[in-house]
């Protein structure tokens, strides 16, 4: 029973990390159809932001609180730059966008290597996040709980933005019918940029959060990007709900497979499960049925 609960918690925790990584992608890939391979590098940029801020401020607690919004801005700014220089030319060529952003990812990794050095660096967690909370004989690390909470906050915030703000309405309008939205006076350019800003900003936040779990290196993003994309694909396009469910499910699966086999076999099994799942539901978990061909 206890092992089951601890596996459950490990799975949820992994799911929340995946969710943080995938949430921004769900927005840029799911809503805009842009495959941004540099998303992982935006996460890395967020993580290095936390590292720099801690160097400046010293106090881990204060720097974490400063880094979270700042990481959002750094990731968002990078995303904005990428959208404005390259991606906006390529909305009709999604596969080429994938390759171009992979090139961007390579460059960003090397920039990180040249600026911060190839070896990993560490960001100290604040004192109030050290240790664990014990619930029913189960020790839950506070950092993991913090990330879980952060993921929930991000989902709620994103859902609020999409549902309740004029920006959200514009995003949804452009997603559903670009030409019609433009005809009714919505600037799809401005909306695209804002969407991309928010999506990339979420990557930055995810990067800051990851500093609580381990050290920071130039290839931090690469290790998450594949999983994050799988989450979005399995979750289905255009619905944040699907992403949330898929991230949780994949986290739990990975954790339980790991428990019964090894980490590497678990990875392969998760992949097999996803391919099998797409056999049943090629559109992912949550999808809207339309009569369009595409």
């Amino acid at each position: 029973m206890e092992t089951l609960l601890s596996q459950l918690f490990a799975g949820l925790s992994l799911g929340s990390v995946l969710l943080l990584a995938a949430l921004g992608l769900a927005l840029t890939f799911g809503q805009m159809g842009v495959i941004n391979m540099a998303h992982g590098e935006f996460m890395m940029a967020g993580a290095y932001t936390a590292f720099v801020i801690q160097g400046l401020l010293g106090d881990p607690g204060a720097s974490l609180l400063v880094s979270l919004p700042l990481g959002f801005l750094v990731g968002g700014a990078l995303g904005l730059l990428l959208e404005a220089t390259l991606i906006h030319r390529m909305y009709r060529r999604p596969l080429d966008t994938l390759l171009v952003t992979w090139g961007v990812a390579l460059v960003l990794q090397q920039v990180a290597r040249d600026v911060f050095g190839a070896p990993n660096v560490d960001v100290a967690a604040p004192g109030w996040l050290s240790g664990a909370v014990t619930v029913g004989g189960l020790a839950l690390p506070k950092t993991r709980l913090f990330i879980l909470a952060l993921a929930v906050v991000c989902i709620v915030a994103l859902a609020l933005v999409l549902r309740a703000t004029p920006l959200g309405r514009r995003i949804r309008a452009v997603v559903q019918h670009r030409d019609l939205a433009e005809a009714s006076g919505i600037s799809s350019r401005a909306t695209d940029r804002l969407t991309f800003f928010i999506g990339s900003g979420l990557a930055g936040v995810a990067g800051v959060a990851l500093t609580l779990l381990g050290s920071v290196g130039p290839t931090l993003g690469t290790s998450y990007i594949v999983d994050a994309f799988l989450v979005v694909v399995a979750g289905g396009i255009g619905q944040i709900k699907g992403t949330v469910i898929a991230a949780t499910a994949l986290g739990l699966l990975q954790s339980f497979f790991e428990f019964s086999t090894t980490a590497s076999v678990a990875k392969v099994l998760v992949f097999v499960v996803i391919v099998a799942f797409l056999q049943v539901r090629p559109q992912g978990l949550v999808s809207v049925r339309t009569r369009s061909l595409a």
Binding site: L106, V107, Q110
Partner: protein, 388 residues
Amino acid sequence: MTGRTSTLTARLAVLARPGRARALAGFGLAAVLLMAVAPVLLSPFRLGLLGKFLCLAMVAVGIGLAWGRGGLLTLGQGVYFGLGAYLMAMHLKLADAGPGGVPDFMLLYGTGEVPGWWEPLRSPVVALALVVLVPAALAAVLGWAVFTRRVRGAYFAILSQALAAAFAILLIGQQQTTGGTNGLNGFRSFFGYDLADPVNQRMLYLIAAGVLIVMVVVARQLMVSRFGEVLVAVRDQEDRVRFLGYDPAAVKTAVYVVAAVMAAVGGALFVPIVGIISPADVGVVPSIGFLVGVAIGGRATLLGPVLGSVAVSWAQTTMSEQFPSGWIYLQGALFILVVAFLPGGLASLRTTLRRRRRPAREEEPGAPAPVSSDGPPAADLLPEGSRA
């Protein structure tokens, strides 16, 4: 103008098109350079490097078919390259260990016993067959599974990439039986021939060059055949092809299997020529790396992928010796610039420039008329009288 004469002139025009003769001459010249000139001029070390590049170019030929012609952006060719390479490497390790022997690394990290699934690879015939059959079977099963369910475009790309990630992680995790991060290396002989002997090394190079030439010929046949035409049709309008009675999944699976086999053969020859195969050669990053050369050379052309791939491999080797970080910037920049601004690759440079220079594009004779909207039903269906 009657149909028959116009057909004839059109046929003649195709025959006399300078491109075809020039392409044939270029292909012949390249074959002579590879098979006769390079082995004489290059030092054994350089020849080995070129051999390695040719193995990587085999992967590129397959990618050119699958991606350029078939529209399948496969980001996981490292898996098939790796399968071919590891199967070959396992055979070489077993052969080096002698009948009933145990490969050195297993004595070091493993139980000191050869796992059951290694045993069939002791036979050279079985090993050669498996090098082709295992990747082909995996590609067939996986391709059929995803293509029949119409997983395509970006989704296919992401799945293929996840496959590469899973494969590399699996290899690293099974150190006792796959060599883990170190991979498999230290091969002494190749089907009984001493690998340290320069004569045998040259023979290996010639085999690689010959195999690559055969692959290019196969790729060409596939491109000009009816299959090649249907493949392009599937790439551009998959649904339309379906309504003509073809199953696009079968077409795509076929080309995916061909690409996988080409990658696997490249991997199998890579092993004796380079002397090592490790997860670093097969994971996510090298798998995408295979695409750079293809994109630069021209993904939909016959020789573009080969030339692009060899050029990129050469640039990588030369540059990373002197400026390791410079190469990464260059690779990134090439990806960005070529794919974003020259999607047809260098092969399309001339036409792209010509189009740029003449920006006032003359109205094409057959410019499509604006498509009429799903217009309102005309009220004039009704007899005149009822409209009052």
